[in-house]
Symmetry: C3
Subunit: 377 residues, 3 copies
């Protein structure tokens, strides 16, 4: 890449990554409409003519970075790209792009259905895979059991946490961060659970139970991932401003709290990473969707956040192109940013290489307690 040659780009090109927040890739074959829908994150309805997902930063980035992996020239036209991809089964697509990402460990949010499970991801990529449990899924299992809700929740969480490296909450999608996020009283929890059970016990939206889950996640002590910012339009984006978490974080103790995505609040998230010893950030998902602008986002994530508090993630879901693209855009984007710092003599080269390693895998390995260095542990 013309704008980031030299030792930093070279190191970043091969640095193994820990993708600390990702989902499975597709397992069944897909048509073009479904593929294009997967390039639009925010719209929950089928994309229309003017959404033209290939005519977007992420669409251009797929053509730039993924086309060569399929043996096409960089920037191949959308139709050419689709024609080539269509000749492969979805499994072949995944087994092509996943290993190419250079990821040693996938930390997988298993809360979304219809995609490859962690074992499959591991097998196809030749990398390790670890699970993150959705607290809202635990809630839905707990209410289905009947009896004491809190006890059921705790039992299920303990069981699943035995093999998981962390938890995740999507309270951002169930009312947002605005409002009370304290730990509710036991009697409130059982009352709310009873009401929810009586109403059918489907999708948990009750604030009391969401707060309960959040604090059970904290108490577990494993890294607690929080969806922040960019996502689909079911969430009120302004209610996912991470600054609304201030009171919650003030009482969050030492459990690592991982602020995911954060766009367009990445500077606010960086502030929190400086303000709280237990807060970490990434700009995953947005890196894929910003394409040629990803380097500027990565640069903004390196303002107030101490460098040991920044992690890499793709938040890929669906087409395995996204598991690969996240890694490529991040490698090139960070190289561009760090080279700029070094060229301006603001940073030493050694520091740049060291920070690249921290964000690529060092910080995630430490915070999630992963062991080993190989790409196949």
């Amino acid at each position: 890449m013309a704008s980031s040659p030299g030792p930093i780009a070279e190191q970043l090109a091969t640095l193994p990554l820990i993708d600390h927040h990702v989902h499975g890739c597709w397992v069944g074959d897909v048509d073009r409409v479904r593929f294009e829908n997967a390039l639009n994150e925010a719209n929950t309805e089928p994309v229309a003519a003017d959404d033209a997902p290939f005519d977007s930063q992420i669409g251009f980035a797929v053509r730039r970075w993924c086309a060569p992996v399929l043996g096409l020239p960089a920037h191949a036209a959308a139709d050419v790209y689709w024609d080539r991809r269509e000749r492969l089964s979805e499994d072949e697509v995944s087994r092509t792009f996943l290993p190419a990402a250079g990821v040693s460990n996938w930390i997988v949010d298993t809360g979304l259905p219809g995609v490859a499970d962690p074992d499959t991801l591991a097998r196809w990529s030749g990398a390790a895979a670890h699970e993150v449990i959705r607290l809202e899924s635990i809630a839905e299992e707990a209410v289905a059991r009947g009896g004491n809700y809190a006890a059921a929740f705790d039992e299920i969480l303990a069981h699943r946490a035995a093999t998981a490296v962390g938890t995740k909450s999507i309270i951002a999608y169930r009312g947002g961060f605005d409002g009370d996020l304290t730990d509710p009283e036991p009697v409130q929890v059982e009352d709310a659970a009873r009401r929810w059970r009586d109403a059918g016990g489907r999708r948990v939206t009750d604030r009391t139970l969401l707060r309960f889950g959040l604090h059970r996640g904290l108490r577990l002590g494993k890294p607690l991932q929080l969806h922040v910012g960019l996502g689909d339009r079911d969430a009120d984006l302004h209610r996912t401003n991470p600054l609304l978490l201030l009171d919650f974080l003030r009482g969050s103790g030492t459990t690592p709290v991982m602020l995911l995505h954060c766009y367009p609040f990445e500077r606010e998230a960086g502030y929190l990473a400086q303000a709280f010893s237990n807060v970490y950030i990434d700009v995953g998902l947005a890196v894929n969707h910003l394409g040629a602008r990803a380097s500027e986002l990565i640069a903004r994530s390196l303002e107030l956040a101490p460098f040991r508090k920044v992690l890499y993630s793709s938040d890929a879901f669906g087409p395995a192109e996204l598991h690969y693209l996240g890694a490529q855009l991040w490698r090139h984007g960070l190289a561009t940013v760090l080279q700029r710092f070094v060229d301006a003599d603001a940073w030493a080269l050694d520091d740049a290489l060291r920070v690249a390693e921290m964000i690529a895998h060092g910080n995630a390995r430490r915070v999630y307690g992963l062991t080993g260095n190989s790409t196949h542990d």
Copy 2:
């Protein structure tokens, strides 16, 4: 311009533009105080010594880009610029700057008085001019008629819409987006209209009637422009964050909703353009006021928004310099941004040229249903 040579800058230098949100230029002669006040957007009071509008990004940009059009060297001093301009009548100024903008179609918001009407703009520029109707002006006409308010509103709207290409709401200036934006019940509308009529029926600020107008605009089906973000201090800028429109947009159907200006919420606006098939954005007005920083703003507008959802506008009002300056800053700013993408091999050159055409005129022509390609249709 040193920073953007090559084929992109060349194409952008001559690409005909559709200025999809603009006002008239001045018709009578003006003095220097009035001219300087027109360089300050946000202050509603006469500018004071420290506002020094010529010592600002827009002031420097006028000296840089407009001075050569008047036969002066680029960057001519403010006094030199004013002396030269003063020797021309305002008509001469307009007939000099308007054609120089290279605009083929002006889409004119006629809601502000005291400036040239669309016909005059068309005649002086040699371009086509189209009208956008202010929904708040319709409201003020409707209340004056007496009788059933909704019926009067509908009749006036239907009559004026016959020759207009879209509607506009300035609800941002009348309470902002915060709060209920649903369609009110007919009885509420008539009650509110009666109260307003009894109170004198001047400037519409009643929330019920503003909501009514907004939904009548939606129902019409022509592009509905919304003032968002940057404007004067009569608006509460934080209440014009476009994310506060989420609920309104979720129920907005297929009518194109055009988010205007958007600064400093251009990234939030880009999110909405991805989230809703019918949402479009521009960064007009702010481009003029950011001058040397306009390229960075344009770059931020090309993050999440699909490229078919981004339009050009100047939002010029008053001195015809602003009609020209918007075009020049946008041409050079976009060229800088796209050249950067191409130089980094993140975009192909052909894609850059194609996106430039979309934003310059393609998207506006399609969304507003304009026909023809010439600069004189």
Copy 3:
């Protein structure tokens, strides 16, 4: 510095600065833990392993810019830096870094205890020092007196203002800008003062009294500094968005209101500087904490704000490195930004040099009514 050679960098390297918002430097010796804590602004608790303040933008900036002042190579390792620094007394550190900042006038907020007073700062730096009075300190003195609170407040303020150049409010830390900021009625003030006195009269948090102080500051007519944005986590950062000051500013008359720091709301602050003839901004504190990213922040502060409304400050507190670092990062950051404008032929070189002088000292000298040009007045 590789990225900003030429006449702008040369001028900026030696331009005398007025640091219009700064605190004292340390007077007693400090250990490494305390030093590292001073590199983290937001965290109010002792920094933990992952906060690693030396592995942050400010940490890298200290190693880059301060190491050479102590005779070490640029980018010296943290341990090497600390070893060298430890051999000096804190007085020696201060007497080394303060004069090196090239500051002619320090405008000192004396509201934080345990650091050098203005006279000491002046003596050690060879520069003039002026005082800014905290309105909340006046409140705490006034309540201790007993009797009529408003009268006591006025008397103390008048006495202290005789030798001070401005006032400051930290209402951002005592509830934020959200809510009523009007001038309270006298009877409300005396009631609130009585309640506060009865409760012990320690730290003022009563909204009525904070509002009273703010309006007394306005009435005094000297520049009124407001803490905005970045600070420690005791403040709710989102409640310090300067747009929440709109109503207050609409009634603020002609007293200069100085919005300090402003990160991450620097673009919103710039808007206010354009919207109100009496509003001024700086991006102090954040410049130090952004290190290699400071130039981008400085660039964003030069969007909507007229250039006569932008000032320099370091907001340094504690280690004298910060008094020096703020100046160095600002000199280099602004040079980078202005050189970029000139290289793109967007600005003339003369204008760049003129704006640099305005922000370096011209604007502060005018607004605070300082006299003289020497570095020792």
